[in-house]
Symmetry: C2
């Protein structure tokens, strides 16, 4: 494809999942797959798959299916996996440390170059060769290093102020772990991770299951 | 409502977000809100809101809007916030410890009653008064305590086996943090948290933003 059509964000949000499944298929040595087979593996309808993948040009060929390697590469390209992003983590508590230890992110192009915390006991320690620095030094660090994304793992009440601070320094991507839809008056991209939303969906499904089981027993 | 209509899972997945916003509104002392106002706060269309909330009975009144407290209570009830779930965490690494420290979960009805790890150095320690126990003792613990949900924070390669082990013990809900769509041959509810999917969406949006800025400069 020489130019990309505008893809809806709903489709974009599903692409990482395709990307994961295609990566697994490649690891299994599977070189092509029909939308029907992919559908049965992923648990989504074949028509949804065709619709999603048609959004950005016909990867599938009638009677042949999808070329796994090509599709994997193309989706990776669309997602910007080839792009390299420099990342810092702000807040070296458990969540920050957990993220710092996710080597998977690196494989997807997200390179951790610094960790910051206000806790002086943590400053100077290293996680996977990346030093924990004082929040006092963040201005200087960002002025000297290109930082694309800040992962915000700070307490709820401090999140907007910290977000504002790094946005003023020119960081354009924020990955927020506080349970809020973060909004700040800057031209930045924010993705919010809402862990408790996912847990509540689990709770809902489980309550439904219990109700059904009780009905069956009654 | 005396009986609930079947609500699509797509709507259910959006309810925790409504629930969060309504909680914020209540904290601000706002007692009623129009779909238009809610739309502008949440950044989704008013028609989507009306459609979502109409799914489970007309909460809104023409010309009055939604009663925030009532809507909050009803969504909470549908999500099963009043239900109490006993939760264990398996894997007391950084992610497990981060989850153990999320006091927010408790407020939503998820009570942490045990933490398990294979690392004997961690066994006996406590996180917020909950003891870390040996994985060797998990069978006995689950036989003596009702466990609804296991949060799986174990390494990728161990996740299916651990999931299988707790499912055999009768745990019906699994919250999985390994980057896989966990599948096991048991009658359980599984919710997968895919952190890197969210990060990849952020990467995509950021790459788009950089491209646009480059075009404008050119």
């Amino acid at each position: 494809m020489s130019s990309d059509k505008k893809i809806s964000i709903a489709v974009i949000k599903r692409l990482p999942r395709y990307y994961r499944y295609l990566s697994d298929l490649l690891n299994l040595g599977i070189t092509r797959i029909s939308s029907k087979e992919l559908s049965s593996r992923m648990g989504i309808t074949a028509s949804q798959i065709r619709q999603d993948l048609n959004c950005f040009g016909g990867f599938g060929q009638q009677g042949y299916g999808y070329n796994v390697e090509y599709l994997y590469q193309e989706i990776g390209r669309i997602l910007g996996v080839d792009e390299k992003f420099n990342v810092i983590i702000i807040g070296a508590g458990n969540m920050g440390q957990a993220l710092a230890n996710y080597t998977n992110f690196e494989k997807r192009g997200f390179k951790l170059i610094g960790i910051f915390d206000v806790n002086t006991d943590l400053v100077g320690k290293k996680i996977r060769d990346v030093e924990i620095m004082s929040m006092d030094d963040i201005e200087q660090f960002i002025s000297k290093n290109k930082v694309d994304i800040a992962m915000l793992c700070v307490p709820y009440e401090h999140t907007p102020a910290v977000a504002d601070r790094v946005a003023r320094l020119g960081v354009k991507g924020l990955w927020n772990f506080s349970p809020m839809d973060l909004k700040i008056p800057h031209d930045v991209i924010i993705e919010n991770v809402h862990l408790s939303d996912s847990l509540m969906v689990l709770g809902y499904k489980l309550a439904e299951k219990y109700r059904q089981e009780n009905c069956e027993e009654a």
